[in-house]
């Protein structure tokens, strides 16, 4: 307990007077602080007044006092961002080289990767996933199966003009018929085709389905785009039906849905939204994810 005594005693042992404060029998000696210490203390107070004048300090109703040098941390950020943009611009200048040249130049490639990764996160990850892992209906960009081709040029073309973008003359476009909805195939025939496709991919087929009609149905309806053996055609964005990768699923339900109502994924034409060097960086990044050819 702190006690205050009005009369200041003198400590018998040291001969120094006490401050009169006592805590549980322990008394505080009065050792005077040096005056310079007090001076510095006052000086810091005066210094702080300087801050009020120089920097924004006092809150007003809707704003604050601005300070005479007009400092704002917002300006710092604006300056840093401007600097960054300037640096990016000079780096982007390097990205005017061809895709192959950039890929061959380690320092340009590094810039493209950094930029591509950032742009991918902002624009592509929403559908394709953060690492381009894809999902049902959204292609995995890490694997080696490409609907429209996986070379640098093909990827660039796809990114630049998008897929099934109305109004872009060079967009990737094809249309699989909705065999069921349009009455081209009857439900029983769809079931046969679905089973035939599974057989092409080496997957087990349903029991009790007459597969004998499969080849004929496939040849008439599907082979034009997917090829006789179902290996697909990149010119038409027709997927290879025989490999281990599928975009919409190879189970009976998914296949039936695909054959009945068709599928037609879309992707924006990034050339309309991003500048040419950014599209290039994006191309190189996507190409580097693992599937680039």
């Amino acid at each position: 307990m702190a006690q205050h005594q009005d009369h200041h005693e003198v400590d018998a042992h040291t001969g120094v007077s006490t401050t009169g404060h006592e805590w549980d029998g322990i008394r505080e000696l009065n050792t005077p602080l040096p005056r310079w210490w007090l001076g510095i203390f006052y000086a810091t107070i005066v210094w702080s007044v300087g801050y009020w004048v120089v920097y924004p300090a006092w809150p007003l109703i809707t704003t604050t006092t601005q300070g005479v040098i007009g400092y704002a941390s917002r300006n710092d950020i604006a300056r840093d961002l401007a600097l960054l943009q300037q640096q990016r611009a000079s780096q982007a200048a390097g990205l005017t080289a061809s895709l192959e040249q950039i890929k061959a130049d380690p320092s340009l490639f590094r810039i493209a990767m950094a930029q591509g990764k950032a742009v991918f996160g902002d624009n592509c990850a929403a559908c394709h996933g953060v690492g381009g892992g894809g999902a049902k209906g959204y292609p995995n960009l890490n694997d080696d199966e490409w609907l429209w081709g996986g070379s640098l040029g093909e990827i660039h073309q796809t990114l630049q003009h998008g897929i099934r973008v109305a109004g872009d003359a060079e967009t990737r476009i094809s249309q699989m018929p909705a065999f069921g909805k349009d009455g081209v195939l009857k439900p029983a025939e769809i079931r046969v085709v679905a089973n035939h496709v599974r057989a092409l991919a080496g997957l087990p087929t349903e029991r009790g389905v007459d597969l004998a009609k499969g080849p004929e149905l496939f040849a008439t309806n599907c082979a034009a785009c997917h090829g006789d053996a179902g290996k697909g055609n990149k010119e038409l964005g027709a997927p290879n039906l025989t490999d281990a990768i599928s975009l919409y699923g190879m189970d009976m339900a998914s296949l039936t849905e695909t054959l009945t109502n068709s599928r037609a994924g879309v992707m924006p034409a990034w050339g309309q939204r991003l500048d040419p060097t950014t599209v290039k960086a994006l191309t190189l990044y996507v190409h580097s994810l693992g599937g680039g050819q």
């Binding site: 120094v16 009065n30 602080l33 040096p34 995995n140 890490n142 694997d143 199966e145 490999d243 580097s288």
Partner: protein, 480 residues
């Protein structure tokens, strides 16, 4: 009590500082202090100019903190930012050495090694050169402002500022190539930070060593408080041996008293010990927080004892317990080797040994592996499973090195690095620039006919293609 109170009255809460005028002194401890001062300042001012050849790709300054490239060089040692634990180790050692010093002989650091003490000593020497010794300085300060006083004071402050400026200048030389920076500083082409740091350190050196002096130790430094808690009954401290010194009488009186068979102390109350004390205290009052234990009062008193033909060592490194023992007629006890000091010594050896071991076995090639978070695995068209990793390879050598990557732990597994050529036996070879690191995207593919566990541990090996030095790192291979 009541009487004392009225007599002494209340002390104020604040008081003007009394200026201390330390007198010059000669002797054993003063000599030791000169030696240490010369050594410390010599090293500090000249070390940045020492060269050390590290080959064409690295700086050739023996001691350099290269902030721009995030490297620290100390002779044959080069430290990367992730190796700051060497500094942690050094700091731990420094702490134990300080504890040890304290347990053996008190504030050795304060009295002899502390920059505050060393620079204050230097500044005092300059002061003495221009203004004379204690008595002359007191007289000068009390006297009127004559032309001579103005000249002496101006010259002193000028030289102080020069030393302070050069102290700040030497500091920045540790952060850039010293000869280049000296030239840039002289031609006003050095970076602004260099000038700013020199200005700040000029000010602090001038203020702390020239003006604040003992006030720094008394009011600003935490170490005196810490050391007060570190000392113990066996630690040697600068001690006035009152068993020998008291009662204090003049030389003549002492002679008379001794003749008459009365006790007489050796202290002649000449106050030489107080005059030389850089903090202006009287050691005869016993151990005090203000005493930096520089030993100068020992020298002063020894000189007096020599003059009056009494044995030296009235003030000496000793313990209060020994003084009491002698009064009780017992033998003094000295215990430098006691449990506490031995534990400190052991800890210093352990930490030092660990650091030396770490340094000796330091690898010049390192690797870190980061598995892709998304997607965790990729199925390829032929059914193989592929995992992707980001691998960073560090090359701590001053030459470019080709580093071959291999992977083990799964049968038939293949490794490739994006944009990196491989050897004939399909090991990607990443060439890493001198003294830097490189990040590569690495794809590990498992053939379709192998069905692995959901997660399996695999081991990456990075090996210098020619020198053979290798490191390994493990990570997971994830399958559906």
């Amino acid at each position: 009590m009541a009487l004392q109170e009225t007599e002494l009255g209340d002390l104020p809460l604040f008081a003007a500082t009394k200026k201390v005028y330390p007198q010059s002194v000669s002797g054993r401890y003063r000599r030791a202090k000169w030696l240490i001062l010369g050594l410390c300042l010599g090293v500090y001012y000249l070390l940045p100019f020492l060269r050390w050849d590290r080959g064409p790709n690295l700086p050739n300054q023996a001691v350099l903190a290269d902030l721009a490239n995030a490297r620290f060089y100390f002779f044959f040692i080069e430290i990367w930012p992730q190796e700051v634990y060497y500094f942690t180790g050094l700091l731990i050692m420094a702490a134990f050495v300080l504890f040890m010093m304290n347990a053996v002989a008190g504030r050795v650091w304060c009295g002899y090694l502390c920059p505050q003490t060393v620079w204050t000593d230097l500044f005092l020497t300059v002061e003495r050169f221009f203004e004379g010794d204690r008595r002359e300085r007191i007289k000068l300060d009390e006297g009127p402002w004559t032309a001579g006083k103005v000249w002496r004071k101006t010259a002193k402050h000028f030289v102080w500022l020069m030393i302070a400026w050069w102290t700040g200048g030497a500091w920045v030389l540790y952060f850039a190539d010293a000869p280049t920076l000296v030239r840039d500083l002289a031609t006003l082409q050095a970076p602004f930070t260099a000038y700013a740091f020199i200005a700040i350190l000029t000010f602090t050196t001038y203020a702390l060593a020239g003006i604040m002096r003992e006030q720094v130790c008394n009011y600003m430094c935490p170490w005196p408080r810490i050391q007060a808690a570190l000392t113990d009954d066996d630690a040697l401290n600068v001690t006035y041996r009152y068993d020998r010194g008291d009662p204090r009488v003049s030389v003549k009186q002492a002679e008379r008293l001794r003749k008459e068979g009365h006790p007489a102390g050796d202290c002649v109350d000449c106050r030489q010990c107080v005059a030389v004390c850089p903090t202006g205290i009287d050691i005869r009052d016993g151990a005090q927080l203000d005493c930096i234990q520089c030993g100068l009062c020992i020298d002063a008193c020894d000189n007096v004892m020599e003059k009056i033909s009494r044995p030296k060592g009235l003030i000496a490194y000793d313990t209060d317990d020994n003084v009491k023992r002698r009064i009780a007629g017992e033998k003094p006890v000295y215990n430098p080797l006691r449990l506490r000091t031995m534990i400190y010594a052991a800890l210093i050896l352990v930490v030092g040994g660990a650091m030396v071991f770490q340094l000796a076995t330091r690898r010049t090639i390192e690797m870190s592996v980061l598995h892709d978070r998304s997607p965790l695995f990729v199925r390829l068209s032929d059914g193989s499973i592929r995992n992707a990793y980001t691998i960073r390879i560090l090359n701590k050598r001053p030459d470019e090195r080709p580093v071959a990557l291999t992977v083990h732990g799964l049968p038939g597994v293949r490794i490739e690095a994006v944009g990196v050529a491989a050897t004939a036996d399909l090991r990607p070879v990443v060439s890493v620039a001198p003294d830097s690191s490189r990040e590569v995207r690495v794809l590990v593919t498992l053939p379709p006919d192998i069905h692995p566990e959901k997660t399996q541990t695999i081991t990456f090996t990075a090996a210098d293609l020619f020198a053979g030095e290798r490191v390994t790192a493990t990570d997971h291979f994830i399958a559906p």
